[in-house]
Amino acid sequence: MTDYKNLKLIATSNPHIRGSETTRSIMLDVIIAMCPALIWAIIYFGVEALLLTAVSVIGCVVFEGLYRKLMHKPQSIDDLSAVVTGMLLAFVCPATTPLWMILIGDFFAIIVVKQLFGGIGKNFLNPALAGRAALLASYAGAMTTWLPAGTKAAIGGGMPVDVVSAATPLAYLKTGDLEGLKQIASVGDMFLGKVGGSMGEVSALMLLIGGLYLIWRKVINWQTPVAYIATVAVLTVLFPKAGGAEYMLYSIFGGGLFLGAFFMATDYATSPVTKKGQLIYGIGCGLFTVFIRYFGSYNEGVCYSIMVMNCCTALIDKYTKPVRFGVVKSDKKEAAAK
């Protein structure tokens, strides 16, 4: 008989096998899903878009790495979540954002919003959106200066000489000036992304490709994005400020709706864990987006509506607990009757 006494056996709890998915592989999938939109941004806004994204990513990774090191916490940059945050933050800023400014946003997103709450999975606000909100509050001018359609950003940030800031489609939608909007962009232009706006949000098509990839890879559930976009679509088709179905199409392809629906509202840490909860959450995001766009002082409502719903996540989780196995509806009624 062979001696098996020399085996160094470990006796840990079941299960003894694990699925192939890891935090890192999920983040990598999100990065891949953002690539189409990034490529479009580079084509449309110029190399500056790539530079801005690269600086933002490096900023986020360095801030996260430094914080974990200085605070003597286990290193976490290899989970790639800081890369995702860096890309998303660049995506929601205008391509003309000065590079130093995006680093301030990175700092706020990674250090204040993410790490001070305990790191990945513990933050209650989406870091990239909170970073953008901080920049918008601090540098309202730079954050709402939009390149006219078809112009490239200057290297290093800022407007190219002789170019004047132009209104984005959202400004036209706000005032209900559908005719004016039609002159600068058709619905097709909006879908493809031939309009002004934040760097990564302009092309609904590219974001849709990325979003479908994420759903196919089972990284995100369809509930949040579908509920979100459908809510905006229904509200804008029922109560258009001008026109009708056309106003709805401009509304859903305009602004950051697709970026928000597929990449921001689906952020694990800040959205509900059950599919039912995600459906409610998506509807909530859609409602607030339309309210802000219609009645708020800002043209765009995606960023704030998601942040408002981030704060409701714990509440939604509490009231959408799954009914445990074996408890059927009649039982629940009986229990309630008692």
Binding site: M1, T2, Y4, K5, L7, K8, L9, I10, A11, T12, S13, N14, P15, H16, I17, R18, G19, E21, T22, T23, S25, I26, P74, S76, S81, G119, I120, G121, K122, Y268, A269, P272, V273, T274, K275, K321, P322, V323, R324, F325, G326, V327, V328, D331
Partner: protein, 454 residues
């Protein structure tokens, strides 16, 4: 095809290593070590003494209360009765028998003159005396399940899901011994007085389904095979009931509460053998597989065979083997020694030498909710983990941690590699301790009040 149950995961089935290899008989072991606890319930009391001669099938352990008797699996001399390591962890009083290689069958083993003329009571008695327990690993005494279910049970299900990766013992039995399965199922139909028994089989065993259907047609047996879509933990009793009948067993309830009784394929074969030949449970088919095994096989061996002999029969283990598991990779128990015997519930012995384990040093939950989607009991593992980590016993109880069946689906699905199942075992203990403490406190209070009144 039956609808699937809620939740679950779909691991690689890894069954190709053994599912085309016929069951081999192990060369008789020189000694067997038979633990006195191979069932759900209190351990048996040994009824033999050191030095006694025993024969195959002779009763050597008697149960009290909930349990099943234990029999000698080889003939020979009792060398020792002492605590030995066993697969459920720790040591257990075991009867060590030195094999005389005569294979003498005990006089206690008597085949009934006409098995088909037996009454229900007689059949249940045979099952009871044969020491049959849930051979899929749960090891609940089968006679208790039958006698408790008669009258209440309308649907008798045979569990051929074999949803754990690697394990192919039941699959091989379907191919090699279909008439024993169908025969056992027919006896079960008779005992429960139902006109059909449903065998649930995952559709990755199509040839097994065909083999059984052939026998059913030949014998015109009251049995139906229901193919099931592959998903773990389909072989969980409550999940199988949900997949086949759509009914959900209430929390804390038994299958009989929804008119069902579930028996494992192996258990069914044991019932057939006991009723037709009188032979109690003395053998077990074990799948020996995993990346650490040189030549994976299905081996039939006497109960009590040391696992090291099975490993030898499969060419030994590879260098770097770091894990030895009794049972499947999802619910089996990791062993600290190869010095354990095969018990009634040991369906597989797995050795791992590759990266199956996949632990990370500082796992951190990312709240992805994949554990919630995977939980077949519809619990929320991520919150239960937080409560258990912080010792929040009341919250744990409200999160229904006691309903957790430790199937491991959540931990399998977890991309952050959280030790969910491990934490729930700890958490359940916390809840149990609190319940015991509360009971003790209530009793002390009652006693104090009684004293005051007196």
């Amino acid at each position: 095809m039956a609808q699937a149950f809620f939740g679950g995961v779909h691991p690689h089935d890894m069954k190709a290593a053994t599912n085309e290899k016929a069951i081999e008989q192990l060369a008789p072991p020189a000694t067997v070590v038979i633990p006195m606890s191979m069932h759900f319930g209190a351990p048996c009391t040994p009824i033999v003494k050191v030095g006694d001669q025993v024969k195959v099938g002779q009763k050597i352990g008697e149960f009290k209360g909930l349990g099943a008797p234990i029999h000698a699996s080889v003939s020979g001399t009792v060398k020792a009765i002492e605590p030995r390591p066993f697969s459920m962890g720790g040591d257990m009083v075991s009867v060590v028998i030195e094999n005389d290689f005569q294979n003498t069958v005990s006089e206690e083993v008597k085949a009934p003159a006409d098995p088909d003329a037996l009454t229900v009571e007689e059949m249940v008695e045979i099952v009871k005396n044969a020491g049959i327990v849930g051979m899929g690993g749960a090891t609940f005494p089968t006679h208790v399940k039958i006698s408790g279910g008669i009258g209440k049970v309308k649907d008798v299900l045979i569990n051929g899901a074999e949803c754990e990766p690697y394990i192919t013992g039941d699959h091989r039995a379907m191919l090699e011994r279909p008439e024993e399965i169908i025969g056992g199922a027919t006896y079960l139909a008779k005992m429960f007085g139902v006109d059909k028994v449903i065998i649930g089989v995952e559709d990755n065993k199509q040839n097994g389904i065909d083999a059984m259907n052939k026998v059913i047609a030949e014998k015109k047996a009251p049995v139906v095979v229901e193919p099931l879509r592959c998903r773990y933990p389909q072989g969980g009793e409550k999940q199988l009931i949900q997949a086949i009948t759509g009914r959900q067993v209430p929390p804390g309830g038994l299958p009989a509460d929804v008119g069902c009784a579930v028996f494992n394929i192996n258990t069914t074969i044991c019932i057939f053998k006991a009723i037709t030949t009188g032979m109690p449970v003395v053998n077990k088919v074990v799948t020996v597989s995993g990346s650490g095994i040189v030549d994976p096989k299905n081996i039939e061996c006497p109960i009590g065979t040391p696992v090291s002999l099975l490993l030898d029969a499969c060419g030994g283990v590879k260098d770097g083997t770091y894990k030895l598991i009794a049972g499947g990779p999802m619910m089996g128990m990791a062993q600290y020694t190869a010095d354990i015997p095969v018990a009634k519930g040991t369906g597989a012995i797995l050795a791992f030498c590759e990266k199956e384990e996949q632990t990370v040093e500082h796992p951190q939950c990312i709240r992805c909710g994949k554990c919630v989607a995977a939980c077949p009991v519809h619990l929320e593992p991520l919150f239960m983990y937080q409560y258990a980590e912080k010792g929040m016993v009341d919250e744990l109880n409200e999160a229904h941690i006691m309903d957790c069946m430790e199937c491991g689906a959540c931990a399998y699905a977890c991309p952050a590699r959280m030790h969910l199942t491990h934490m729930f075992k700890t958490g359940k203990q916390l809840v149990k301790n609190k319940m015991a403490a509360d009971r003790a406190a209530a009793e002390a209070k009652k006693a104090a009040e009684a004293k005051k009144e007196a």
